[in-house]
Amino acid sequence: MAAQEDQIHPIVQRRPRIGPRLSQININVWRVLVFFLLLGVWWLMAVVAGQNFLPTPWQTAQAAVAVVKDGSLLTATRDSLLVFIAGFVLSAAFAIPFGLFMGGFRVFGATIEAYVNALSAMPRVAFIPVIIVFLGLGYEAKIFIVFIGAVMPILINTYAGVLNCDGELVEMARSAGGTDMQIFRKIMLPGALPYITAGLRVGASLALINTVVAELYTAVKGLGGLLSIYGNSFRMAQYFVVVCVLAIIGVAVMQTLKLLEHRMDRWRYRGERT
């Protein structure tokens, strides 16, 4: 029986691919090439604009060694990461359960939805003075600013994920005697996962932006603080070091989330790589 199987039904219906298959080596080579290309463009622009406006990559590297040696960069990075991670984790810890709750209880969700949308459309910077009044200029205020920046996309995506659950699967589970709670846990929640991870990715980038915003608007600290100090005193080489560190953090966070996504959605990415 099993042996014949193979000939009658070969494994088909893999995810259709557009263009040739990406191999890991290929993409890494391309990434490195583009990196040097960008470096070249940067260097060219620095030469044309003059180093008072734009430092060359080499000057930036030298400045990097200096700020690493005197410890200011590491302290600032640690401060910023603390604010970012605390704010982002808090927003996820609040937004995911709340979004699931909104999706699980339709009346509640539909009622709250209007206010969620209103809040998400409002520029969150507007809250900063109020936050400073209540929470001061320290970590609490910064973390809260990151929190309100990241919470809405995660919440809205989680809610949308639950609402977009597969009605056919729900009926299947119901026909087999599944309770509402079982259907929610075993059908709706896993079905919402791709939406939740998408929300987390948007939330993470907003959290990073808000970390810098918070450090500029409240007590000047962390990487945002360094940007402000170096920017105001026209130390452009040091300024660019901070910009690069922020970019690296951004890439690292996104890659981590992507890995997490692939692990959770194993079936979708089988045979593919990050």
Partner: protein, 281 residues
């Protein structure tokens, strides 16, 4: 439990679907009565709109009749693992492996993980999918997916198997193999099978009894017994005289129903028309 109590009884069942804020609706079924004996394979056939699928969902207890009563094993039906349901769209959870999809039914009823994995493997064996236990649904062909869905229904050892056009989305060849597969499984695990299909062929090949429904509103037009000897995979059923006669008879009736149905796209396009009840409205 005696025979009568283990069967399915449908008495005078009517069902109308209404959209919100509408007083009139579409009557899906009108005064349908059926009596299905234990260990019988019954097919529900008829043109689109005859309420076959509605009736099947009512037998499962997913929806309830407006009038009349349904008794499954002597009691009104409640959805559960004892009533295996197989859908046309396979409805496998894409994020679960085939094994975990199959064991879903018994997972709902609280069987522990070790036991349900063993059970899943046993039923995967039965449908010939053991080697694909760890694959994901998107790695399988349509026929394999439907076998997995069948295993998911069978794993709870249901006394009633309700199948809603299960092979309709498969290619013609896979479909015939699946019919044989189903007949073999049914031979070993006798139960009531209620099988909804658009295919007259399929109904005659598989069933002990065929219930022909007519559309708008859905009513029982005729109940036929199929007297072809079992097991039917040993010979070519389609060559038998009884098969040909019954197939022709059913097909003629369905053609007439469709031609006389003003809401059908083939209205008045049949050779002869015979007015049917409800068509005048």
């Amino acid at each position: 439990m005696n025979d009568a109590a283990a069967g399915i009884v449908v008495r005078n069942v009517s069902k109308t679907f209404r959209r919100a804020k509408e007083t009139t609706g579409v009557q899906a079924l009108h005064a349908v009565s059926l009596d299905i004996k234990p260990n019988t394979f019954v097919s529900l056939v008829g043109p689109s709109g005859c309420g076959k699928t509605t009736l099947l969902r009512m037998l499962n207890g997913l929806i309830h009749p407006d009038e009349g009563e349904i008794l499954v094993g002597g009691v009104p039906p409640v959805p559960g693992p004892h009533m295996g349901f197989v859908f046309q769209s396979f409805r496998l959870m894409p994020w679960r492996t085939i094994r975990d999809n199959v064991s879903f039914t018994v997972e709902l009823s609280g069987m522990d993980a070790k036991e349900r994995a063993d059970r899943a493997d046993k039923y995967l064996d039965m449908v010939g999918l053991r080697r694909f236990a760890d694959a994901f649904p998107n790695e399988l062909s349509g026929g394999m997916k439907q076998r997995a869905a069948l295993a998911r229904a069978l794993i709870a050892e249901p006394r009633y198997l309700l199948m809603d056009e299960p092979f309709a989305s498969l290619d013609a060849q896979t479909r015939e193999f699946m019919q044989i597969e189903l007949m073999k499984i049914w031979q070993h695990h006798k139960s009531i099978v209620v099988f909804v299909t658009h295919s007259v062929d399929e109904a005659v090949v598989l069933s002990d009894q065929i219930v022909l429904l007519r559309p708008r509103p859905g009513e029982v037009a005729e109940v036929l017994d199929v007297d072809l000897p079992h097991p039917r995979w040993d010979y070519d059923v389609r060559e038998r005289h009884e098969f040909v006669t019954m197939r022709r008879h059913l097909w003629e009736r369905i053609k007439d129903m469709v031609a006389a149905d003003p809401q059908s796209e083939f209205y008045m396009r049949g050779a002869k028309t015979e007015p049917i009840r409800g068509a005048e409205e």
